[in-house]
Every structure is written in C-alpha cells, then in structure tokens.
C-alpha cells in the first residue's frame, strides 16, 4: 500500500508513532511540500511550529550502575539515566509543523524538517500566514535561521539579547540579574 504522503514534494520518510503521522521532507522543498499539503490534502490550518534541539541526545547513558557509556559513577544515581539508548537523530535541530485539516475527523500530520546550526530553513509565511510569529519564536528561542521571512526579529527576548535560550548549550541561570542592586 502506498502512502498518501509519498507524493509530497521533497518526501524523505514517513513515520507512524503513538497514532501520529510524521512526514519528513527535504528542507529546501519545504514550501512546495506545504503548498501540496494545504491545497491537495486540505491541511489548511497550521497549529504550531516547534523546533527542538537534539544536542547531547542520548549522551546521558543507560540507567543503572552498569551499562552506561561513561562507566560507573556512584555520585550520580544511575537510574536517572535512560531506559535504553535512544535512536540517533540525523541533525541537531528538528522543526515540526503541526498541521490540521478543518474537516470531519480532524486529521493531523506533523511535517518535519531537519537542519544543523546555521542552515537556513525556508519560511512558510506565504503558505500559512500564522507561521509569522511561530517562525520568529523558532529563531529567537532556538536560533533557526528562517529564510524569506518578512520580519525575522526576536519576539520574546529583547532585541539585543545574545544567544538562543532554548538551545541545550544555553545555561540555565546563566543570565545576568538586573535591578539586583549590583553594579
């Protein structure tokens, strides 16, 4: 049986998990894929764009005092580790476009592209105007370089903020505290 999504431009693979469909496409053909999904398959509603950073994915090691890649460390409870080594990811970042079709049955699909740090991802504002702020957030929080966005500025952080806070290499509690009485 052939998949509905194999005809999507730039189709790479289709994954089924937890009752959800993920369609991975080539980054360069994202806009074509979006237009196809919107116009041919009726996914007229973009719910959300979520970027995820997979830096250090799976490096935590396997649970228990044995079996971890880093060896035995009595100071860190081994059971804070993972149940098993997770599947490796193709690149550092994934950007997921959660699409919904406003029709009977409310079908959803996750359109996904992968990129490394600094690689541009085409903007889908022309396909779904609601992508505007979602893409700005992806840039602000994850440093995804969205190409062709009409107004790619920081959205949640200040304009002069350095770094992208939701990246895994961005420290928590590392920002300077303002108005604390210190110089």
């Amino acid at each position: 049986m052939t998949s509905t999504y194999e005809a999507v431009p730039g189709f790479v693979e289709e994954k089924q998990a937890y009752g959800e469909t993920t369609v991975v496409v080539e980054r360069e053909r994202l806009v074509d894929a979006g237009l196809y999904l919107r116009d041919e398959l009726g996914f007229n509603f973009l719910s959300d764009i979520s970027a995820a950073d997979y830096l250090g994915w799976g490096e935590q090691g396997v649970a228990g005092y044995w079996g971890s890649r880093a060896g035995r460390d009595l100071n860190a409870p081994g059971s804070w580790g993972l149940a098993k080594t997770p599947e490796p990811k193709p690149t550092r970042f994934s950007i997921s476009y959660h699409l919904l079709a406003l029709r009977e049955g409310a079908p959803r699909v996750r359109l996904q592209v992968w990129c490394d740090d600094g690689e541009p991802v085409p903007s889908v504002v022309s396909v779904w105007p609601t992508a505007d702020w979602h893409e700005r957030e992806a840039w602000d929080m994850m440093g995804i370089r969205v190409e062709g966005h009409p107004n790619l500025e920081r959205i949640l952080m200040e304009d002069d903020w350095a770094g992208h806070p939701l990246r895994k290499d961005y420290p928590i509690g590392g920002e300077p505290v303002r108005f604390s009485g210190e110089e």
Partner: protein, 431 residues
C-alpha cells in the same frame, strides 16, 4: 463593506469553511502581523505614533502596541510581546515529569486546569497509561469549570474596559464561586495541580457534588443577568457591533481557534471534532456566529458558558464510580497508608519522588480545546525521567497575531475593545 457578505458559510452542524486560497483577505502584507502605514499617508505627514502599553490596564498583562494614528484612525500597528517571558519551557526540561506538571498551570493563569490537562495527556500518550473513567469525567468537569472561570474574567474585564464597571463585580462574584469549588476539590483556589499522569491527585471530596449542583443552578441565571445588563445597553452594542472584523478565511489562515474562530463563522470545536476525555458521551452545542466582530465573540463566550454548565450537569449525573487514579506503581504514587506497612510501596514512593518515572522515547502533539482555543503540547522524550523538549501551542499567542488584521480602519477608542475581544492572556503569549 457589509458584514454579511464577507463571511463564509456556516451551518449549525458539520464543518463549513472557506476556500483554501485566501481571496479578499484583509491580512496585511507582507508581514501578516504588522499593519504598515500606507506610504501615501506618510507623505502627508500627519501620522502620530503612540505607544500603547506595555503597562496599561486594558492590555491584560504586559502587551505593547505601537500604534500609528491618522487623527482618530489606527493606520498602523505592531504588537511587541515578550515582557512576561519566564522561560517555562526551559525550566520544564530541568524537572522530572511529575514536578513539571506544576508549570503549565502558571502559563495561562485563567484556565489553569486545561493547561495542566494538555501536558498530562501528552505524558499519558507517551506512557500509554489508561486513566480510570472517574478521573476522565472529573477532568472534563474541572475543565468546564475552568472554561467558565476564564470566560467570566474575559467578560468582566472586557466590559470594564468599555465602561461597564458593574459587570466586573457580577462576574467576579460567580468566579469566586468557581474558585470555591476548586478549593473544595484541590485545596487551593488557583494553580491546582489536580491532574497527574494516571488520573487525579486526590479523590473527589464529599460534598462536592452538592456544591457543584448548586453552582449549576446559579450559573445560567447569572449568565441571563449579564445579558440583561449588556444586551440592551446601547453603549455596549455601539462599541462591539461591526468592530474588529475577521472573516472565516482570514481566521483560518491566521490559525485562530476557539471563540474567535467560531465567532467568524467556522463551526469548529476540538471537543466535537476530535473528542477527547468523555466529550463524545455528553450532549452539548457548539455556538457559531458569523459576523466575526467583537459582539459575536461576546455572544460565543456567553453561549459557551451555558453549554459548559450543561456539560457539568451531565458530568455530575454520569460520574462513574471506582478508582480515581490508575493502578500502576511505576508511575503513580502508592496510597499513603501503604507506606507504613509495605516495604515495596515505600521503595516505589521513594523512587518516584526522587527520580520520577521514565517516559518512553518519542514525540507527541496533543491538542485540546481550552477556553481560548486549541491548546497544544508538543512533548519530546528521550526515555529519561525529564522531558527533552516541551513546547506549548498557546492560543493567545496565535490570537494576538490577528490584531493587525482586526484593527485596520478602527478608531483608537475601539482598539481596546478589539484587543480585549481576542481574549489574550499575556502569560500564555510569552510563556
């Protein structure tokens, strides 16, 4: 441009929506969320740029709008957000799942139960854990109470901004009744953390059913009272009708959901379109209005409060007996009394509290119909006890994107009514 001709068709049942190509769109170009001043107007040199907010009582938090005015008319608008950014999503990555449940409630402090619910549902989807029916029904009941709570604050503050001060007191009277119910069930009035993976945190206390029934008798009358105050009030009608227009096509293109989408004539409610919890077992209507203006958004909110009461009454009637949390000792804390007698329970308790439970590897997106529309949670797990990535699809964040479209040609005095009608909670916008 008349109201009727701009709106797509909508039926009382089934789903109706406009064509996917956005003809006759009012969405600004090239940036959908920024209304740019017409260059011809700029040359005349009569444009005044004012800063609305970030600290203004009618912005529902800290929203800043850069507004370009030509006389009284709004000709340019740019929304600046982020003043309330607290890094919830980053913080949640540092916490075990059961600790992280406390965070989503604080993202949207008006419909906190639903935010908890969407995160808990996402965890449960990854865990594959079955929730007992009593917990499912109680979750539905609490969500609807939460919806009423959120709508009441929307109505009270929205009317206050337009000048109907008394509405605030009436709405907060009923809101307090809802909060009393929350306190009765969970021990706290807000940010209840009542839902957790597998079910509820506590059993439903004795006396709740009676109190809740009393509330269900009182609430529809209260909604009638609100309508008596507002619906024949000439000022209210003048200041809401025909303002902040959003067509069905534009609403879909801008990803609007919830009352905004339904006020624009799109018959869409996730409770019915993709039933979760026990919504497929209760009877309720989805109010749809077609003008897409502030008044119709108000109408949708009012009707939804009545429908929520109907759902609550049915949930009280149909509430199943039985356990309120799943019997899964690897995820759910053992009952307190067992800790004194059972070594195994003590170990489970200790391990769950110190290390949390591991959630299988994978990524899920769960969406529910919150008071403001589609509340989504994208959860990535690497198989460990802490979430790898949590992202919330905040309906308020998306609703604010529509400001520039709704506002074009409006008067500065209507700006407040229009922004207020989008029902945004800045905590959720900025997360």
């Amino acid at each position: 441009m008349g109201v009727a001709e701009r709106v797509g068709p909508a039926g009382a049942s089934g789903v109706a929506f406009g064509p996917p190509i956005y003809e006759r769109s009012r969405i600004p170009q090239p940036t959908p969320t920024v209304l740019q001043v017409d260059p011809a107007l700029l040359e005349e040199g009569d444009i005044l740029t004012v800063n609305f907010g970030p600290n203004h009582p009618s912005t529902h938090g800290v929203l800043r709008l850069q507004v370009d005015l030509n006389g009284e008319h709004v000709v340019g608008l740019n929304a600046v957000i982020g003043y309330l950014h607290t890094g919830f999503e980053k913080s949640m990555e540092q916490k075990t799942y059961w600790k992280a449940i406390t965070y989503p409630a604080r993202i949207d402090y008006l419909s906190f139960q639903m935010n908890e619910l969407v995160f808990v549902l996402a965890i449960e989807k990854l865990l594959g854990i079955e929730t007992p029916p009593k917990a499912v029904w109680m979750r539905m009941l609490m969500s609807e109470l939460s919806r009423i709570h959120s709508h009441l604050i929307w109505l009270g503050t929205g009317a206050l901004e337009i000048g109907a001060i008394s509405m605030l007191w009436y709405c907060f009277r009923e809101r307090d009744a809802v909060l009393d119910l929350f306190e009765l069930v969970t021990g706290v009035r807000m940010h209840t953390r009542y839902f957790q993976a597998g079910g509820l945190a506590e059993d439903i206390p004795p006396g709740f059913y009676d109190e809740c029934r009393r509330f269900c008798e009182l609430m529809p009358k209260a909604v009638d009272d609100y309508e008596t105050i507002l619906d024949r009030n000439a000022i209210w009608l003048e200041r809401t009708k025909g303002l902040g227009l959003l067509s069905a096509e534009d609403a879909i293109a801008l990803g609007q959901s919830g009352p905004i989408l339904r006020a624009s004539g799109v018959d869409w409610d996730l409770r019915r379109a993709q039933p979760y919890l026990a919504y497929d077992q209760v009877d309720f209507n989805v109010p749809v209005y077609t003008a897409g203006d502030v008044y119709d958004r108000y109408r949708v909110h009012m009707d939804e409060m009545r429908e929520s009461v109907r759902i609550i009454v049915q949930a009280l009637e149909g509430m199943p007996e039985g356990p309120w949390i799943a019997d899964d000792r690897k995820v759910v804390l053992p009952p307190r009394h067992e800790l004194h007698t059972s070594m195994e329970s003590l170990i489970h308790h200790f391990k769950l509290v110190t290390e949390g439970y591991r959630v299988p590897e994978g990524e899920v997106y769960v969406a529910i119909e919150s008071a403001r529309g589609e509340m989504g949670c994208y959860l990535v797990s690497d198989g460990g006890p802490k979430p790898w990535r949590v992202k919330f699809r905040a309906p308020s964040f998306v609703a604010l994107e529509a400001t520039a479209t709704c506002i074009s040609d409006a008067l500065i005095a209507d700006l407040i009514a229009i922004v207020g009608s989008l029902d945004t909670v800045m905590g959720e916008v900025d997360r």
